[in-house]
Symmetry: D3
Subunit: 253 residues, 6 copies
Amino acid sequence: MIETVRMAEMSWPEFAERVKHDPVVFVPCGAFEQHGPHLPLSVDILLPTGVCEAVAQRTQGMVAPALNYGYKSMPKTGGGPHFPGTLNLDGATLSASVRDIVRELYRHEIRKICFIVGHYENQWFVTEGIDLAMRELGPSALRVMRLEYWDFFPPELTDKVFPGTHPGIMLEHAAIMETSCMMHLHPELVRVDLIPDNPPADFPPYDVWPAHKEWVPSSGALTSAKAATAEKGRLMMEHYARAIAEAAQGEFG
Amino acid sequence: MIETVRMAEMSWPEFAERVKHDPVVFVPCGAFEQHGPHLPLSVDILLPTGVCEAVAQRTQGMVAPALNYGYKSMPKTGGGPHFPGTLNLDGATLSASVRDIVRELYRHEIRKICFIVGHYENQWFVTEGIDLAMRELGPSALRVMRLEYWDFFPPELTDKVFPGTHPGIMLEHAAIMETSCMMHLHPELVRVDLIPDNPPADFPPYDVWPAHKEWVPSSGALTSAKAATAEKGRLMMEHYARAIAEAAQGEFG
Amino acid sequence: MIETVRMAEMSWPEFAERVKHDPVVFVPCGAFEQHGPHLPLSVDILLPTGVCEAVAQRTQGMVAPALNYGYKSMPKTGGGPHFPGTLNLDGATLSASVRDIVRELYRHEIRKICFIVGHYENQWFVTEGIDLAMRELGPSALRVMRLEYWDFFPPELTDKVFPGTHPGIMLEHAAIMETSCMMHLHPELVRVDLIPDNPPADFPPYDVWPAHKEWVPSSGALTSAKAATAEKGRLMMEHYARAIAEAAQGEFG
Amino acid sequence: MIETVRMAEMSWPEFAERVKHDPVVFVPCGAFEQHGPHLPLSVDILLPTGVCEAVAQRTQGMVAPALNYGYKSMPKTGGGPHFPGTLNLDGATLSASVRDIVRELYRHEIRKICFIVGHYENQWFVTEGIDLAMRELGPSALRVMRLEYWDFFPPELTDKVFPGTHPGIMLEHAAIMETSCMMHLHPELVRVDLIPDNPPADFPPYDVWPAHKEWVPSSGALTSAKAATAEKGRLMMEHYARAIAEAAQGEFG
Amino acid sequence: MIETVRMAEMSWPEFAERVKHDPVVFVPCGAFEQHGPHLPLSVDILLPTGVCEAVAQRTQGMVAPALNYGYKSMPKTGGGPHFPGTLNLDGATLSASVRDIVRELYRHEIRKICFIVGHYENQWFVTEGIDLAMRELGPSALRVMRLEYWDFFPPELTDKVFPGTHPGIMLEHAAIMETSCMMHLHPELVRVDLIPDNPPADFPPYDVWPAHKEWVPSSGALTSAKAATAEKGRLMMEHYARAIAEAAQGEFG
Amino acid sequence: MIETVRMAEMSWPEFAERVKHDPVVFVPCGAFEQHGPHLPLSVDILLPTGVCEAVAQRTQGMVAPALNYGYKSMPKTGGGPHFPGTLNLDGATLSASVRDIVRELYRHEIRKICFIVGHYENQWFVTEGIDLAMRELGPSALRVMRLEYWDFFPPELTDKVFPGTHPGIMLEHAAIMETSCMMHLHPELVRVDLIPDNPPADFPPYDVWPAHKEWVPSSGALTSAKAATAEKGRLMMEHYARAIAEAAQGEFG
């Protein structure tokens, strides 16, 4: 009996058996990027992987190995490239990786692919990779989704998760949402004692090169993460799993 | 006496003279994309060009020729590729164009460049082009900005511009903002009799390939543009010019 | 009633209506390059645009937005890269732009495309872009032309346009032909008082890197433009329009 | 106190602290490729990751996130592309990923990088990625190694590990070496009951396209893996760790 | 004593010895393209190689291995792609080859490089390759020339070489010039009995895709080659050698 | 009567005639790389060309022009990039060349192509070029082989060719095999008086960047070539011709 959703744990005959049932393959699109003093550099890999696995379990799907590196961290959404440990890919590299993966999954009879993005800056280059593959493959039965899991955040949880006046989802980098989800999924990787409590960053409505480091709070968290709890993480992850599974089933049948 | 801000109207000695005063070069980043039955396919070229010229006049800057083609129109922000006339570039083509322009302006002693994006989907590939050029040029005195002009929309104008319950700036494609600005800047290109009045599109929080045409209102406008007026356009354009000029001066001195 | 030939002035339904009649789409392939002290940097955009519009009017065609940037200016044909304001694209960038435009026009049911080149150095990279698109699209009903408008210069006009011993069309950069055409089409952009009268450049039969600036007349015009008149411009433009329309009709039916 | 060698478990301040001691960064270069009916598709990710971690522990080094996808599986070394689940990258995609990672680690003051390849077909494209980065970075203090861990197999273990007449290391795909190492490192992922016992593949000295599937044993293992044991895996892994640590210290000091 | 000019016949110490004298390296830029029924497919390799060797002998230079493949044959200059045996490279492939060769020669202390083009269609992609290398290498002592050898054809030979009313050098594909030069340099490869005598092709001033085969004489020669003689070939080759050597010495000292 | 196997000596009608018989086209994949003080820089071009011609003669095949430049020389197999005269291509350049040649031969109805590699470092980039072409062409009757000729070295010749304890085929760079084959095929290019007699190089099982020059014997030969003889060269070349012809016929029929 096959139980895992991780393709990485399947042998080729197990994978082949699964493919017969026309599963959705979920691909975690991560990045290696600073997430404050309290979270590991791999948050953007771990969270979409967690979402992918939870969704795959609900939908008889499979999870492909994560894209461990992502597009360039920008100050206003990820703190920017200057933080130690942030490793950025060129856009073309990320798009080519996505294109190759779509092409190869298709070659193995996969007809339903869902890229779950865990790093804001990835989305357009993942989009381009999907588009390049779709064009190359021509008209086919292949269908592809791409989503950023936090876009499924339910308005009804806003008050429960974000205390007081929340500065908005755009600043939720290494803040309440990501910290809570990590406390739920990977508590051993969260340094609770180091959770930052800086006020929200206040960015102007443009980007500059070279980046202004002083725009970004020195912690790397774009707003306070103090209100994070594992329970909030559980609530959110469960909601993401349910809502994304529903969306995938709606699209893929 | 030199009066124009358009580099396209300068001879090389005029350009050379201007460069001595260390001006900001503004580059309109457009696209060729459907904008409903009432607006021309070139809205995303004309509006950032208008913004660039107004800002350049306030800042002794110059305006480079527009990038007339842009990144792929997406259903949720531009209606998508299926509308007749929408001509999309690959991401790498747009990024390469931006990179080449930065490199060349730098070669001619320009040290202040500001890309003003008029097409939502462009922003990440313009970003990548800037980053590729900055890396290639190495440490230098060059500073570059990139902005989407609508991000300078002033909250204090919200009630004046958008009647009743506004569905949000994300649906402002071929809607009140763009229609008003076109009525102000290029009234001869607006078919007032054809301004659409469809209800706002209701998009799910993900993208799919192949695109679902039925997600997008058949007009191509993502929400009603009925409340558009030239006066609103004038208000917005004046504000954009003032606010962006201020931001540019703040950054570039 | 639809009257314009400019796609930039059409809405998507107007474009769609036009496409039903299987029109030729003309694409002006320009550049941003020095053209002496008397002409603006945009001559290579403006002239092929003018030709495209005139030809489109005679053939029920349409004109796409211009490619505003072109391949690298060479000393022997355009004065070279060192003149202030000359902004060059890499060959691959230009070819990719052309390829993308062909692909996209084809996607919208256009089957007749004509690239009209206004910058000598563009022609091979436009050629490559067309060829890459044709190969990608595979066997189809698509037909594409590419032409440099000055190759339609009629021998019978030689004596009328070029006084005395003319040094040849290869030196006609910012000289009699381009100056006359600009005086006809855009007189407000010609500084008649600054028309240069330098003797023709005398180039050896090879190119060198780094370029020798001293090969090129300091004005940037490769020979005297003194004999330019608006009337000559009118004569030439009319001939180009007529002859190119005839060629397009001959090829496209 | 910092104990992990995994960069994925470090926060940015922890990473920054580590970098001060000039550590070697080890990068596992994996692939997603069939490994017989008894091993998971991720063997080429898991084994070099295991080697990297063991070497890093001995050398105060750090381990970067793995490259989870690799170059195209070839019949004679990996069974080839036709086996279900084998997902191949284009060579340029892999080289670009490696180049980007070298560039980024260098940007963060890393001066010692060691790519440990776990998939035979990767080596030349990893090589190219390193070379492209070195050229781009110019003369610097950066030093890079690349190795395939099995090249450190000690001749003195040959008799102990490989029974009777061994067909050679080139056929060690999903065979004794990899199976033993997996039994040692990840026993829960080995289906001992399904270990294949087919005779060694007999390949001609050339490759062909399209590939001949009949060249490859139907199990996907290129020779029998029956003699695999966890103890052999332990012996080999310990030797690899020791020998590679020694080589790294010899090179990097 | 070193006597050969061919780098292909030198050992590395011989090459190193030569480099000390700061020689010009001449690179034949060929193509594999139909040249009528009487000439081999390698004419565009053999003739620039012959020119390179003759010039190198006069200038103490060296000749690098030829680029055996070139850019796409066009109907109006080479007969076009449809003739059996014509093998075309993409423009980017040719430019990359040239860029790599410049970069590598520079790495070996070569400071004077001259590309001698034997295939009309090559010139712009060779140009681009040189330009890409020059930019990458940055300011340096490197100087590069590029020339098409036939541009050194001396007007004073016109009457002697071309009988009667000559249709112009643009039609000299597989015609008098190339045939004569081949009769002089490689008489064993010329089928004198098959020299074509078709009238000159009459091309319109534009290109089309797909190509019109009927534009091109069925022989592949763009005009009659009947008047070719080995003596004419000798005259031309001697002149090319002398004139190009002089130009190279003028530029490189 | 057609006698040559060299496509370079055929006219287009001769090539067309040959194609009717569905021949194999053999493509020599060379490099320009140091081969000790006694052999020319072109050994890796000359030997696979010799093999291709001999095999083509036995199989009614044809030989395409050689790829004269190859992938980067590595210390452990070719001595490395630092030896004067070694000119390296980027991997992408070589792969693109191979891809273009496959595509073009296919366009001319060639359905059997065999790349014969004469430079160890080429093989993976030739592989990638073939794979890219196969994918682009889609399902077809095209079949392609790639081989390194020395992999056909017959065990039964080992004792005859290699005296005493041979250090292995990996060190056979500029050593007995290549020197003997050159003495047989191109004796005029071998400086017998300079044949090196250094002991075999002793490489560690990894590569490093920047390369350690001191790893490589100063001669550039990776082991002694003293035992080379023309007779050994004849034996090997005859065997290669026979065995590769047999393999090609086995594959292509």
